[in-house]
Amino acid sequence: MTSNGHFRNGSASNGAHPTDALYPFLSSGASDLQAVLREVSQSTVDKTEEIIALRETVLAQDGDRLVECAAAMAAAFGAGGRLLSFGNGGSSTDAQEVASLFLSPGGKSRPLPAFSLTNDIAVVTALSNDIGFDVVYARQIAAFGRKADIAVGLSTSGNSDNLLRAFDEAQRRGILTVGIAGYTGGKMAELNSIDYLFVVPSASVHRIQEAQTTIYHALWELTLAAFDAQAVADRTVASSESITMGPTKF
């Protein structure tokens, strides 16, 4: 552990901003610094306990459905589908990470086609300016989406209008739809256009996003495993057929 010596550089001023309690260090004086450090340290430990417990809840609640969803995703990739992901704010960065996990996983993992609908700032601002923010993902799905594709939308509240529109558009096109939400699922839980909806039951947006990260990392690993298992099965079938049919088949 490194010691950085920054604590000698003076204490923070004692402003009376109403949000001081939310950023403890911005208002703390030297006298209570040790107390604040202890509080922040304890808060860090508490948060790790919360996310460990929350993941346990998600596993118990959705473990089997994660397997089913990953199998469906693997089948879609096997049929030539691509993964299209979307979300707003922090969830837009998760959408980008989902796409990147599949497209450029690194190491020996198999790359699969995926892209995020949040990346092209020209498209996002053009659609927002000309039509409205509600259509930024639905219109891209209308432009790109094909039947074998997979649409993955992430929201903490489950209420983002542009996600709701995107799921409806995706389902109209026969696309496999996967939703990842928080709290009690919001309006996403009321849609009938989401094939697999995973809801992280927490009241903290940050814990929700942490558990959502785990959900899509799990989906990625399981999808690759299912995809490879399917590829092995296909090869086995193909080779047994070739034996049965004889070399003249080829």
Binding site: N4, N9, L59, D64, A71, H217
Partner: protein, 164 residues
């Protein structure tokens, strides 16, 4: 359950693998708190947070920046933060002209100020451009913070290396 080549025991193992890093993080809670304090002093001085990383961590960099600029908790004040991974024109331009190792250092050179905080993310701790960015930041007097896996911690140039 039908045979998919995967099963729920695999899901459990996958979730279990993710517990140890959190225990490790909890074990560094004091370091996290001191890092937060050092960051708060920089924000008091008018500094901004500058975040960077490659691949998945590039999305973490963007996520971290938006948490500060637009805090999700109502009433929390906005603090200045930028991600160096968002400007594709600059990233590809610098990568093409000077090489990928310079993409963050170049932006720090022109966008960062001495009061700022540089936060570099690298899972293995070996990303050349993250290390170059942190060195550039340190040379310019920024507070430097690295985040990576525990094994990445030793002998890195940053003043705090938080594991996760």
């Amino acid at each position: 359950m039908p045979a998919y080549g995967i099963d729920s025991s695999q899901v459990r193992r996958l979730f279990e693998r993710r517990e140890a890093p959190l225990r490790t993080l909890a074990g560094t809670a004091d370091q996290v708190a001191r890092t937060c304090h050092a960051m708060s002093l920089r924000f008091h001085r008018g500094g901004k947070l500058v975040v960077f990383g490659n691949g998945g961590p590039s999305t973490d960099a963007q996520h971290l920046a938006v948490e500060f600029v637009h805090p999700v908790i109502v009433g929390k004040r906005a603090l200045p933060a930028i991600s160096l991974t968002s400007d594709v024109a600059t990233l590809t331009g610098i990568a093409n002209d000077k090489g990928i190792d310079e993409v963050f250092a170049h932006q720090i050179d022109y966008l960062a100020e001495p009061a700022d905080i540089a936060l570099g993310l690298s899972s293995d701790g070996n990303c050349g451009n993250v290390l170059r960015g942190l060195r550039e930041a340190r040379d310019r007097g920024l507070l430097t913070i690295g985040m990576g896996a525990r094994a990445a911690a030793p002998s890195r140039p940053s003043r705090a290396w938080t594991t996760s």
